[in-house]
């Protein structure tokens, strides 16, 4: 699978329009994030791809040809549902064994994927004794067992500890490098923003944005936050504040103890930095924080509403 396109997808549940004319694509080697508030249609879109929900309108196109969600297509997918909780009577090994045997995989693959997600030590233990993070890792093991061409992850970071997050990052990297596709629905934008190639923002069932995180950030033109640590008691502090105000800061410049905090528009950033440089020894340290994807997301939702 080199290219998957979703074209003008619409889904209704009775009177509720869950998705309206949503079109987006994923290319081989891409990790695409679906973001949006609760009820925006992220999970519905995933479920259409999985054949769990039927669309009222629209189509899937794989490598230029219309594709129905039949068993052949489903055999190419891997899926991690949100907050998955497997049968508590079985061990982790037995859970993965079922999904592996259902897909006709060799039994040694079970041990491989359990090791891949760091669950070898707990493989023989019943799932009832697993923590939430371990269950999530088990779900990841199930989802990757068949090495799917398209990996669909619904809130994959839920419950994962730092080590688990590391496992997830390495899986995303592996899928990207192997030229496979990943579609991730998540609210965890802060964690995901440096791991995805594109973000698709859904709101009330419609696609509001579809671009790389960097371009979305550029488009949003949100101010960067500057924190300037000063040499306390220096006589040029007020002069610096005046210079910064002239260079184009937004709103108030907050002065607390020995630090200044201010917001600067992207196109004024160079001017503000020059002012800091010219201020000389009064500036001890300077920190620029670009707006995160979470702020971009909030901004876009606010703008659209």
């Amino acid at each position: 699978m080199r290219q998957l396109r979703i074209e003008q997808l619409s889904v209704r549940f009775g009177k509720l329009r869950a998705l309206t004319d949503v079109s987006l694509g994923i290319a081989a080697g891409e990790v695409v994030m679906l973001a949006g508030p609760n009820g925006s249609g992220k999970s519905t879109l995933l479920r259409v791809l999985l054949g769990l929900v039927r669309q009222d309108h629209g189509r899937l196109v794989v490598d230029g040809r219309e594709q129905s969600v039949n068993n052949d297509f489903k055999a190419r997918l891997g899926y991690l549902p949100e907050a998955v909780a497997f049968s508590e009577n079985l061990s982790g090994h037995q859970v993965v064994t079922f999904f592996a045997s259902a897909r006709g995989l060799r039994s040694s693959r079970v041990d491989e994927v359990l090791e891949r997600v760091g669950l070898t030590h707990a493989a023989k233990r019943p799932v009832r004794g697993y923590s939430r993070g371990m269950r999530q890792r088990l779900g990841l093991a199930v989802s990757i067992s068949s090495v799917p061409e398209l990996l669909i992850l619904d809130e994959p970071t839920g419950g994962l500890d730092q080590e688990g997050i590391g496992v997830l990052w390495s899986l995303l990297r592996e899928w990207r490098e192997a030229g496979r596709m990943v579609l991730v629905a998540t609210h965890d934008l802060g964690l995901m923003e440096h791991r995805v190639d594109r973000m698709c923002l859904l709101q009330a069932g419609t696609l509001r944005a579809d671009d790389t995180p960097a371009r979305l950030r550029d488009t949003a033109r949100l101010p960067a936050r500057l924190t300037i640590t000063l040499r306390a008691g220096h006589d040029r502090i007020q002069l610096l504040i005046d210079e910064l105000a002239r260079a184009g800061t937004i709103g108030q410049i907050a002065l607390s103890d020995d630090a200044l905090s201010l917001d600067v528009q992207p196109d004024r950033l160079l001017g503000v930095l020059s002012a800091c440089r010219d201020a000389g020894e009064v500036v001890r340290h300077l920190r620029v924080v670009e707006p995160g994807l979470e702020r971009v997301y909030e901004h876009m939702l606010t703008m659209d509403s």
């Binding site: 769990l52 549902p81 949100e82 998955v84 049968s87 999904f99 259902a102 199930v142």
Partner: protein, 264 residues
Amino acid sequence: MGQVARALIWHEFRERLRDRWVLVIGALFALLASGVSLYGRSADASAGLVGPSLVTLISLFVPLVALVLGHDAIVGERERNTLGLLLSLPIRRAEVVVAKFFGRAGAMIVATSTGLLAAILLAAPPHRPVLANLIGPTLLLGGAFLSVGLMLSTAVVRQVTAASLVVAIWFLFVFFYDLGLLGLMVITDGGVSEGLITSLVVFNPAGLFRLEMLARFAGPNALQEMGMATPLPPLGLRAPVWAVWVTAPVALSALLLARGEAVR
């Protein structure tokens, strides 16, 4: 049946045999059935005593085991968020239902046959062939209630609702149905024909099981020997009713799952 369905059958079988409720009810059934056999043996009673006692025991326990086995088949997956995962495998929805039925039927056969075999082995040797007659109808009885449990499991959205309905259905079919018929006869002062009453008994799998065992223990003229004018429904009528009880709820369950949005 495809690879996924075969894997699902085996998975369901193994998983259900670990269910504590199935184990507890199955073990209790085995204990009581063995007790009945031992009692019949020590009192030097005839199969005419042991057989009907086991029939009563079976008609109480087997529907409960079967309903418990079936009630969470689909709704349990839905609540654990694994129904979508299961349906995302290359398998048709109807196959999921049928595979779950077969896998759980296997577990039910193990859970009930263990008790029955223990009872047969512990019975006096001359009684054993008579008691062996219980096995087939017992499995049909279990199959019918398992099928009903599976249908419940597809129709409801919460497992606790399915569990409550299991209790209600068990009481309805095992106790209240016959009481209702008795009440009907009393209220109408015999105005309802014996033929209609017999037909109504047949439409309850627990009643059908009792009639089945009556035919096997006492012969096809058992009802006339008890003073009733209506003959026992022939096998040609009983067999299709069993077939409907075992298959129709499974078919309905498959239809419900195929038509509904599985996970919204």
